[in-house]
């Protein structure tokens, strides 16, 4: 395990150095999206792939993180009006909050909402949880649209500083943070897979009744999974307002988050930490290319068609195809 952590960090550093070499800023802009999807799809997979519970509300958890940031940033800007004068100097000491702190806060907020949603619906059949997560996106989006403090339907501007000391551009700093989150989520996913928790998740996915009979506390484990998964999604969303500069409900709650975070693990393979990573890199790259060369509608269509094709033809994704091939060769 320590070796894996070390290896992931080394890989992340190498990626970062290689991307700096050509001196093209756009690489970081495009790369950020892909790395962000590594976090989202890995987070989705902890609940979806490991436990078998479908979350259609990735966008909601992501947006919760993003809007936590917007709320705190707006609060920071309006400090003098919102806080009693005597307290203001203390608040000025900590505001504006640094992004790593915002990431932690976004994670906590989304984690709590994940826990709450799970607590209310996970006693019921799996399909109800899926439908409830879908409902959650719409309810939260409506709340945000009607909440003027964070800009309502018009959206809110978040000013991104131009430079970050030591790295040059602020975009590179954001990219580096997201890369760190990706390392964190992949390490977490791999750790879960090999731990007692992972075996419990697999038992739940396979047969909940049999899992209970074997002593697995299914409800508690499912709640752990929804909380972890939600928290990671919120963490991925927290830096997003700084990345995009202007956050509107339509972009934060975009359906593409829900679709991509489902499609990427299912196409890559859901039983293994590497599956979502492979799916994200393939699909993310493909999307970057099609968005630039054709149109974003076509790219979304492509994801949908690939998703349908994979769940029908290759239910265990690319990793599953490779495993089958290897098993067949071994048995020859």
């Amino acid at each position: 395990m320590p070796l894996f952590i070390l290896a992931s960090i080394v890989v992340a550093i190498v990626i970062f150095i290689l991307m700096r070499l050509p001196g093209i800023e756009y690489l970081f802009v495009a790369g950020y999206t892909i790395v962000q999807y590594i976090v989202l799809s890995t987070a989705w997979n902890i609940l979806g792939g490991y436990c078998g519970y479908v979350n259609f509300g990735s966008a909601a958890f992501f947006a919760l993180g993003a809007y936590s940031t917007v709320t705190l940033a707006t609060f920071g800007l309006q400090l003098d009006e919102l806080v009693p004068e005597s307290m203001a100097p203390y608040f000025h000491l900590i505001f504006p909050l640094p992004i790593p702190v915002l990431i932690v806060i976004g994670g906590i907020v989304s984690g709590i909402v994940g826990f709450g949603t799970g607590y209310l619906t996970l006693r019921l059949r799996g399909a109800f949880f899926a439908i409830a997560t879908l409902a959650l996106s719409v309810v939260l989006a409506t709340l945000v649209v009607n909440w003027d403090f964070v800009g309502g339907s018009g959206g809110a501007y978040v000013v991104r500083p131009g430079k970050f000391p030591g790295l040059g551009s602020y975009m590179q700093y954001l990219f580096l943070l997201m890369l760190g989150l990706a390392v964190l989520s992949v390490v977490l996913a791999r750790w879960i897979e090999r731990s007692r928790l992972g075996y419990g998740f697999a038992a739940i996915r396979d047969d909940e009744l049999a899992a209970e009979a074997s002593g697995v506390p299914t409800l508690r484990l499912k709640l752990i999974a929804t909380t972890l998964s939600g928290a990671l999604m919120g963490m991925a969303g927290a830096p997003f307002p700084y990345y995009i500069g202007y956050l509107a409900p339509a972009s934060a709650f975009g359906l593409e988050y829900a679709v991509n975070s489902i499609a990427m693990p299912l196409i890559g393979g859901t039983t293994n930490w590497i599956g979502p990573v492979i799916g994200t890199i393939l699909l993310g790259t493909l999307q970057q290319v099609t968005t630039v060369t054709i149109s974003s509608a076509v790219n979304v269509l492509l994801v949908g068609v690939l998703l349908i094709a994979f769940v029908i033809i290759a239910p265990n994704g690319i990793v599953g195809l490779v495993q089958e091939r290897l098993r067949a060769r071994r048995q020859k």
Binding site: A127, I131, A135, V138, L143, V145, V300, G304, V311
Partner: protein, 291 residues
């Protein structure tokens, strides 16, 4: 004092008209999700598809949307049976419906939406018929024909479905599928065939609901998403597959939505159905008529 009262009555009446239409929209889901245990979250996509086909024939050949969709529904029936066949072979048979089956319908929803977007664009589309525009006035109550016609059509459709389920052999077999597949097999009825027929019917009903939808409101490709929350809220609230329960729940939701939109503004409306759904799931998962 007089004014809010009239407003309230009008809101309730509009809600009931809307609610009857919601019942027709949900009828398909009550069959597929409530009775067959197929979580077809792609259902609204078929409704929107029906709306767009009705739109196409209305604009180009001036055909009434209800007529178009009556002719369309047998085609949708076969589309439905084909989709069930794929679903059965790919997911149900392999026992993978809970994760991959859901993802499949999600993909269907998504692909349909984007295809409509590419074909018709993001603009709202509407139809032109003689009954869009005029209203009947009963006292201070407004009954717009564009709401009344779909309401009556929906009630006829809904009643027809209820008769089909309670009075035909196939219909009763559909009910039996939801309770005891083994008993059906003992009666030499193939449960897969029954499910295929029932799923076909649910999609055929979606075509009709599509016609009503585009009469009631202009349609754009992503409208379907709003209906996901609505149909599942009504289905769960109605007690999963109970037709009378579905009708009551639909009328209830229609009225709540209409009152919310009238008194708090339409921007809150989307949260109503989903909020009701979340509350129902949390506190009353067996529905209003449930034990």
């Amino acid at each position: 004092m007089d004014f809010p009262f009239e407003l309230l009555i009008n809101a309730v009446v509009a809600g009931l008209l809307l609610g009857a239409f919601y019942a027709a929209v949900t009828a398909g889901i009550s069959i597929s999700f409530g009775m067959l245990d197929i979580v077809n979250i792609g259902h609204p996509a078929f409704i929107i598809l029906g709306s767009y086909i009705a739109y196409y024939f209305n604009i180009n050949y001036h055909i009434d949307p209800i007529v178009t969709c009556l002719i369309l529904s047998p085609i949708f029936y076969f589309l439905g049976t084909a989709i069930y066949q794929v679903y059965y072979l790919s997911f149900e048979k392999r026992g993978q419906q809970s994760l991959r089956g859901l993802a499949f319908f999600f993909g269907v929803l998504f692909v349909t939406e984007v295809l409509l977007l590419l074909a018709f664009g993001v603009d709202y589309r509407y139809v032109a018929t003689s009954y869009i525009g005029p209203s009947i006035h009963v006292g201070f109550v407004d009954l717009p024909l564009r709401m009344l016609v779909p309401c009556i059509g929906s009630l006829i459709l809904f009643g027809g479905l209820q008769l089909f389920i309670s009075h035909t052999f196939t219909g009763r077999a559909v009910l039996a599928v939801s309770q005891d597949q083994l008993a059906l097999q003992l009666m030499a009825v193939d449960p897969i065939r029954i499910k295929r027929i029932a799923f076909g019917v649910s999609i055929a009903v979606a075509a009709m609901a599509g016609a009503f939808l585009i009469i009631i409101q202009p349609v754009e490709p992503s409208v379907g998403r709003e209906y996901i929350g609505r149909v599942f809220a009504i289905c769960v609230l109605g007690g999963m597959g109970s037709m009378p329960g579905t009708l009551i729940a639909a009328l209830l939701l229609g009225v709540i939505e209409s009152i919310t939109a009238t008194f708090y503004g339409p921007s809150w409306a989307p949260a109503v159905s989903f909020g009701v759904l979340l509350l129902t799931l949390a506190f009353r998962p067996s529905g209003i008529l449930g034990r």
